[in-house]
Each structure stands twice: as C-alpha cells, then as structure tokens.
C-alpha cells in the first residue's frame, strides 16, 4: 500500500514495472492512468494546474486506499497523484491494484479512481486560449462514486 503526492512528472510504465516486480502469487494487476487532455468543453487546453490541500490530501487518499482493502482481497495498491502545473499529454494520476483475483483488482482500481475524484481535495485550474478558469465538478463523478455505496 502506498500513496504519493508529488510535483514531479512520473513515468507510468516505470510505475507499473515496479509495481509488478516479484509478484509470484499475484494473479492480476489492474491500473488506471489519467492524462492531461488538450481540449475540454470545446476549448483548447494549454496547461492544467492542480491545487491541493497538503495534509488532508494524503489523509483522504490513505482512507480511500484502506477502504478498498477492506472491500476487496488486495495484495497491494498504489496511488500516485501529481500537483502543480502540467501540460497536455502529461500524466496526472496513476492507480494500481494487485490481487489473486482479476475481478477484485479491476473493481478496486475503478473504485479508487472514482472515490479519488470526489473525495480527495484536488482542484483543477485550466489555462485555455480564452484565459484561465477553475474546472467545475461534474455530476457524473458524484454518480460514479455513489454506485459503490453499500
């Protein structure tokens, strides 16, 4: 189990390779990688800046990760989220889960990214050709999170 919040760009391939090493008993590894898109809502995106709440971010991510381990038989998990300014095509977030059962790995990975999107204190500021603005939360993210309620 690990949570990392960092400004530095990361190499998703390297993260997956490291996460995969020496897994003799792991049946499956699911992962999700979020990237900065060059367009959003019909506007060209020149850069994205992620603000966060240091301290609360780590606390919430650890809580979300612990919840995933409570719900599914996971052998390991990893959440890496960047903050600061980044350009289109750059990675923002990487989530990986390992389990002996593929369904547990897949479900837990989807759960982590859904909950992270609604519960971790990050805010996106977009720079477009028409100036900068804070990205608004989407109702669909809230719905995606709520389907995991039990």
């Amino acid at each position: 189990m690990a949570v990392r919040v960092q400004e530095a760009i990361f190499d998703p391939g390297r993260l997956l390779a490291d996460f995969t090493k020496a897994r003799q008993s792991t049946g499956g590894i699911a992962s999700f990688l979020g990237l900065v898109r060059d367009a959003h809502g019909g506007r060209t995106v020149q850069a994205l800046t992620l603000e966060h709440y240091p301290g609360m971010t780590e606390k919430q991510l650890h809580a979300i990760e612990a919840e995933a381990h409570r719900r599914w038989p996971l052998l390991d998990s990893l959440i890496v989220h960047r903050v600061g300014r980044m350009l289109p095509g750059e990675p923002i977030v990487f989530v990986a889960t390992a389990s002996t059962h593929r369904q547990a790995a897949l479900d837990a990975c989807a759960f982590l990214i859904d909950w992270l999107k609604t519960d971790a204190p990050f805010w996106k500021y977009e720079e477009t050709g028409e100036g900068g603005h804070w990205v608004e939360a989407r109702a669909s993210d809230k719905m995606a999170r709520d389907r995991w309620q039990s």
Partner: protein, 85 residues
C-alpha cells in the same frame, strides 16, 4: 476561541487570503455559525455560501457538515467541490 481558517481554489480568490488565524467570539459554536461570521468579513465568501452546495468544509482534514461543533485550535478549511483525478 483561536481557529485556523483555510480557503482553496476559487474560494481563496473570493476572500483574498489563503489562510487566516481568527479568534472566534464565544457564541459561535459550529460550522454554520462560523460561515455566517466569516461571511461578514468576506462578502464574496457569503455569496458563495448562499449559492448552496458549492462550499465544502473540512475540520482537521476530515469532511464535516454544518452542525459540526468547533473546538479551540481546530483547522477549518473551505473549498469548492473537488476536481482531481
């Protein structure tokens, strides 16, 4: 009662400060009352609170509702719905 207040994202632009240390009058006991009190200092924060559902609150790094009782030394943060991931 001494409290740490923090604002994030566009709420920070509404108040003009990222953080402030306040000394709360004794009659202000919960988050709802604190929001009203802060609204008198920052009219544009009051506006955002009035809009409904767009100002979230955390105390000591945990999400709380408006009825959360405040304690001396609490760190209280206000921010819009999150948009990470």
């Amino acid at each position: 009662m001494p409290l740490q207040i923090r604002y994030f994202a566009w709420l920070k632009q509404r108040t003009g400060v990222a953080a402030e240390e306040i000394d709360l009058p004794a009659e202000i006991k919960d988050v709802a009352a604190l929001k009203a009190w802060l609204g008198r200092r920052h009219p544009r924060f009051a506006e955002a609170c009035a809009a409904g559902g767009i100002v979230r609150c955390a105390v000591n790094h945990d999400y709380v509702e408006d009825d959360r009782t405040l304690l001396p030394g609490d760190e209280v943060a206000f921010f819009p719905p999150v948009t990470g991931g």
